[in-house]
């Protein structure tokens, strides 16, 4: 059965060529490789033919897509509501008259934000700084943290910079260039530009040869599964991690002004921690006057069965900043505390500061999520899928190891000892799945993923593990 949300979705996967890439894809890839590195290409797509949960390639192969452009397509390929938004006069304006948003915002920029991005702002956040992608969303949040902390140390927003600060900043030296740090966690991923990469600790291939700041990292709990069999051990891992965070805050040679954390470490292997851990993290950061930045680039916008993954935590006080990208199709950071606006203009600034065209798409996505109640829907479908995966895990021991993501919508993962072959087989059987970390199979369906799609996925997963 195809999508109940949109008519016209394929009934199921269908493969036309022996293998992917087929002859037409190969031809396009050969042409592309002359001008653009293609070694990381997973498969070529014909987006004119892709629809809903299905991605179609130039050879006509039709795959159920539970990877969704690295977790970044929220409401399906060629979503009719998005197509409508793409054809509005507002969109044409945004495309052809790209403003420098900090200098010359359009008269309706406030309204675009209020009816879009800010409508879904996390609790405690009523302001936004708009950016382009996950990396610069995180980096501008880091910059806000550094300025906030130094301003406090300086004695408030009205205290002027010293001559020494002004001059040393131009030489990249302290005190103008601060000797502070951002703390992140081992196996975290926060982006790949120089500041964000310094907080990324997932894989050497991301980091090799690139200079990095000497910033601290704490151990992420890395829970053991099944959870109910490792209650004490896991609680200890979380307590140890929090103690390490506190120790680094107090003693690290470059004092951290913020801790950045993913609700679920995604690129690093779908590593989870409990809500209690995150409440503890909020407490320990608050206690020491350190900001908490929650990186919701991959977890945000509904996939965990709540709009923001940190909504699952019942925090005593909100995060100081929440970064977003991917399923928002644009990026930035939310915040509430007015002190996080730097004390002078042009301290947090760049030419474009985001893209109104993508802000309009985000707004259309939000409308579509609300109209179809997709967050609640995803919570339900996720519960169904998780239950069935538990049964598979019991039936095929070792093949769906460390199943995780219970109660977190469709944001589900498991480990397989032959992960890379697992993903290759999945493609051969008509399902596009992604991996993360060393051995995780990460499921990242869209928010329009339904029970009938889950059934196709489950059948395929079983087919894979019985085909070894």
């Amino acid at each position: 059965m195809a999508s109940t949300f949109y008519a016209g979705e394929p009934e199921g996967p269908s493969l036309k060529t022996e293998s992917i890439p087929g002859p037409k894809s190969t031809e396009h890839l050969t042409q592309l490789d002359k001008v653009f590195d293609t070694r990381s290409v997973n498969m070529l797509a014909d987006y004119t033919k892709s629809f809903g949960n299905y991605i179609v390639d130039p050879d006509g192969n039709t795959l159920l897509d539970v990877y969704a452009q690295i977790a970044s397509i929220p409401v399906g390929y060629n979503n009719p509501a998005l197509i409508k938004a793409a054809q509005t006069p507002e969109m044409i304006q945004a495309l052809v008259n790209r403003p420098a948003l900090g200098n010359f915002p359009s008269h309706d920029w406030a309204s675009i934000l209020e009816t879009g991005a800010l409508k879904v702002a996390p609790k405690g956040c009523n302001q936004v700084f708009t950016a382009m992608a996950g990396s610069d969303a995180n980096e501008t949040a880091y910059k806000a943290a550094f300025m906030w902390r130094r301003q406090k140390e300086r004695g408030g927003p009205t205290v002027e910079f010293t001559e020494q600060e002004l001059n040393s900043s131009m030489n990249n030296q302290s005190p103008g260039a601060s000797q502070l740090s951002i703390m992140s966690f081992k196996t975290a991923f926060h982006g790949r530009l120089f500041g964000s990469l310094s907080t990324t600790r997932s894989k050497p291939i991301h980091k090799l040869d690139i200079p990095a700041f000497d910033w601290p990292q704490a151990t992420f709990p890395l829970l053991k599964y099944p959870l109910e069999e490792h209650v004490e051990e896991n609680a200890k891992a979380e307590a140890d991690s929090l103690a390490e965070v506190e120790d680094l805050i107090k003693n690290y040679h470059l004092p951290p002004c913020a801790v950045v954390v993913e609700p679920i470490q995604s690129e690093g292997g779908d590593n989870h921690a409990s809500p209690a851990f995150f409440r503890g993290l909020r407490e320990v950061t608050k206690k020491h006057g350190v900001l908490l930045i929650v990186d919701e680039v991959q977890t945000g916008v509904g996939a965990t069965g709540k709009f923001w993954a940190h909504d699952h935590w019942d925090l005593p006080s909100p995060p100081d900043m929440v970064t977003f990208s991917k399923k928002a199709q644009t990026a930035g950071y939310y915040f509430g505390n007015p002190e996080l606006r730097p004390n002078k203009p042009y301290r947090q600034f760049n030419t474009w500061m985001g893209d109104p065209a993508r802000a309009l798409i985000y707004r259309a996505i939000i409308d579509e999520i609300e109209r179809l109640n997709l967050v609640e829907h995803t919570a339900k479908v996720g519960d169904y899928l998780y239950g069935k995966l538990e049964a598979l895990a019991a039936k095929y021991p070792g093949e769906f190891a460390n199943l995780r993501g219970k109660g977190l919508g469709t944001f589900i993962a498991f480990d397989n000892p032959k992960r890379d072959q697992f993903l290759a087989k999945a493609k051969k059987f008509g399902v596009n799945i992604g991996g993360s970390g060393v051995s995780a199979v990460r499921l990242r369906p869209m928010l329009i993923f339904e029970k009938q799609h889950a059934d196709i996925l489950l059948k395929t997963l079983e087919k894979i593990v019985t085909s070894w």
Copy 2:
């Protein structure tokens, strides 16, 4: 007289309110400030009413715009050809099915690049890495430089990383995190994220409180004007600068793997150096196996009367990488040497790697530039404008000091001792002009700026300096 390129442009500026912002703008700004920092707002715009060279605000004030969204609008507001491009099925596809370009490029991505960005690739460059804005264009170019250099030091692309490199990279330590640097110039601007900001040396307000890499900076020549009266002095400044570059290459404690330079330092105050200087820079970098990255973010795409400003230099061998953004309305870096593709996939990678929607706009801009021959046109209009400015400078000594940009299209600047008041008066008289550095008035008209617009601008400039 209005535009000869497009019918319907206003005949000239017209002001409806006593001052800007008028009442309607103020209302919008008050609303916007609740959710978005407005302290850097220059003026609010109504882009639905702006056309060609004219920006219109919500109160109906119509200004000749020679700032053009910080030098980033190439072919006019509401350009009919761009509106057409914004309405194509390809554009709708690009907006609603945003791909992860490194993993799942569309079948026509090669063709979009070949008929777009690569059609205007600088000499010696036949490949492109696509990015989002100037900062990440530069930073990904820097990353390519670090990987290239370490690969050479390691003994080539097939030499594997050592265990020590793999492990230390995860701790942000050497040798995995390299102890190399990027050299830039004093008063340069290359962006505001952590790596690019470490090479930016224009103003403390951009850098204060943000940690920076301890990278080297050489003195930019800072020519004296009029050039013909300072021939020897300027030649010496350039020779000294090149000697300093060579000394830093040989002796700086973190060896530079690349030098990044703007053809004209824009944000830093419109500082020029001669073609001979840049040829010397190419020679000295080549001699020492250091890459030359030319940052054409502000100078590229026609404004200097050539498509790329470095086309003015007659280089003995091309730059290794050329970065672009702004008037391209998208961003990235061009390169030619296949060794600049890192030895393994996923070393230079991120989720989106640019935006096909913006790549389509760049293609439409290129078509429009070619159709109307706008680069040659800009060279001619620039010569006309420069000549008239020379006359004004002679007539009003001190008011148009250090006039610069002769033979460089409309990329013209001068210094005024009361620069900020100068810009405020310009707006009052109906012209939107930007500043740069401490005292520069920088002219950044669009490529569709014509003789008749130059005449309006010139009349206004004279009005300003006779109104003190």
